[in-house]
């Protein structure tokens, strides 16, 4: 059957996902991701069930539950209850070699061992030593079919497996034409097929709508009076013209879309919309070369204006930056100057302070000596004097 399977696979493994089920399983047993009956079911924290492989794939892309989109982590996924696993494993499946002829159906958990050990149609390694070919189990008993033998007719080396196919192509043999049942040598069969009078073919104008078909030998009569065939040159011409017009129309529409905003304004209402639509149609038809030139002109002007605006924008931005820099520099200068002035004022204040303090010291000493022998009224004057000097000192501090 299969001429050469990969020699590395000594046994075909069963893809559980590709199995066909005898009866369509309950929707409750389907994985929400692959929509097939669950394989190695697992359960999430939010109590949804998936195939183990499917949920891993899903979590690789986004850490949410694929059903309710709640946050979900790899740790939140645990094996589903055994009962669910048993339910899906007990579903009856058809043997994957069904197309080759195996009619077995069995519970899903058994199918792998069926293919591995029993299935007559499973591909296994050829029994002959040194042969890498694969063979179906039911044919494994006989001799190796991968040996090359000599074709009895053309003497070429052919694998036993392929000999049936080779007989249909062997240049020394003849085959029957499918249509006229005459026998031709294989190399000539291809050429004959093109002229076989008995083959049923369609009318030459079938792609223009003629539904007539008959044997090749009888078609000539039809062709002589078929209306479609008579019209073919004109229809062909029209098809070509329509194609070129469509291309042109497409190009024009693209240009128009650039110039006319494609979206109709809602305030203009439906009348404006239909007129825009009509413009589209008539534009394709009426656009003369003059109009086209005008369009080009407008388009180039538009492009030029746009680049102008872009240039201006860049200039404005540059100026802005320059001005900002200038202002910043000036501010820095002022700041420096201000710091200098402040330092000078501070120095002055210190000097003043020192002067006032020394003056007060000498003033207070004089007043104290004078107050001793004087009357009470005199002492009050001395007190006022001290207060004044304190006030002036305070003023200095304020400075």
């Amino acid at each position: 059957m299969a001429p050469s399977r990969s020699s590395k696979n000594s046994l075909q493994s069963v893809d559980l996902r590709a199995l066909d089920y005898l009866t369509s399983p309950s929707a409750n047993l389907l994985c929400p991701i692959c929509h097939a009956p669950l394989i190695t079911p697992v359960q999430t924290r939010c109590l949804h069930t998936f195939c183990s492989a499917c949920i891993s794939l899903s979590l690789e892309r986004s850490l949410t539950c694929p059903v309710d989109r709640k946050p979900l982590n790899h740790d939140d996924v645990t094996p589903a209850p055994i009962m669910i696993a048993n339910l899906v494993n007990d579903l009856v499946v058809l043997c994957p070699n069904r197309e080759k002829g195996c009619t077995t159906s069995c519970a899903r958990w058994l199918v792998e061992s069926h293919v591995r050990e029993d299935c007559e149609f499973a591909a296994i390694k050829c029994a002959k030593e040194g042969c890498d070919g694969m063979v179906e189990r039911r044919e494994a008993e006989g001799e190796c079919v991968h040996e090359e033998v000599e074709c009895a007719f053309c003497q070429g080396p052919i694998r036993k497996l392929d000999i049936e196919i080779h007989y249909k192509e062997c240049p020394k043999l003849s085959s029957d034409c499918r249509y006229c049942s005459k026998s031709f040598p294989n190399p000539e069969l291809g050429a004959h097929k093109l002229i076989c009078p008995d083959e049923v073919i369609d009318c030459a104008a079938s792609h223009f709508g003629c539904s007539y078909s008959s044997r090749r030998s009888e078609l000539d009569e039809h062709l002589s009076h078929c209306h479609f065939v008579a019209l073919t040159p004109i229809l062909q011409l029209h098809t070509e013209r329509i194609e070129t017009l469509e291309l042109e129309n497409k190009a024009v529409r693209q240009k128009l879309d650039l110039l006319v905003p494609p979206r109709p304004l809602p305030t203009q209402g439906s009348g404006a919309n239909s007129s825009t639509a009509n413009d589209y149609n008539s534009a394709g038809r009426d656009m003369t070369s003059e109009m086209q030139d005008y369009t080009y002109h407008l388009y180039s002007e538009y492009e030029q204006l746009r680049s102008d605006v872009e240039r201006l924008n860049a200039q404005i931005r540059e100026l802005d930056v320059k001005q900002d820099m200038a202002r910043f520099n000036e501010g820095l200068r002022y700041n420096d100057e201000m710091a200098g002035v402040r330092a000078a004022i501070n120095g002055l204040r210190m000097q003043l302070h020192w002067l006032v303090a020394s003056r007060r010291e000498t003033g207070a000493g004089g007043a104290g000596a004078a107050a001793g022998p004087r009357s009470i009224g005199g002492s009050s004057v001395g007190g006022d004097g001290r207060r004044m000097s304190v006030d002036s000192a305070r003023q200095v501090v304020k400075l």
Binding site: P32, H35, R61, L265
Partner: protein, 152 residues
């Protein structure tokens, strides 16, 4: 590989239980990631009588990433962008609200539902959404006009 299997399964499921007004199939047999969808405008809506074709593109990371839905037929609708892409804005199709358990048939059901009842809170075309809210008559007229012009 798992994606291909799930998509094939979903396609078979959809062909067995098609939605009313929605038909879907593969663009090419070889590629299950590209679907062709045809929506028929529901009766009673301004899209009635129109046939809208859409492209449904499934990412290779499906079902972990959402599919994208694009109208190839021009349509005047608050939830469909009015440009070459015609991308449809469906809440469940945004990657932050997409769930791997969502099915393509649910997506198509929502898309068909939006033709019946546009969702102004989720609009991509805010101007059309405003018009739909404030002057439904004018919206309906334009939508009908566009349907007649582009979706017949």
């Amino acid at each position: 590989m798992a994606a291909v299997k799930r998509i094939t399964r979903e396609l078979a499921e959809f062909s067995n239980n098609p939605l009313p007004g929605v038909s879907a199939g593969l663009v090419s047999e070889k590629d299950v990631f590209k679907w062709n969808v045809i929506l028929t405008g529901p009766k009673g809506s301004p899209y009635s009588g129109g046939v809208f074709t859409l492209n449904l593109n499934l990412p290779t990371e499906y079902p972990f990433k959402p599919p994208t839905l694009n109208f190839t037929t021009k349509i005047y609708h608050p939830n469909v962008s009015n440009d070459d892409k015609g991308s449809m804005c469906l809440g469940i199709l945004r990657s932050d609200s997409w769930k791997p358990s969502c099915k393509i048939s649910q997506v198509l059901e929502m898309a068909a539902g939006l033709l019946n009842e546009p969702n102004v809170d989720d609009a991509v075309e805010t101007s059309i959404a405003d018009e739909y809210k404030n002057s439904p008559d004018s919206f309906e007229k334009t939508a009908r006009e566009w349907t007649r012009q582009y979706a017949k």
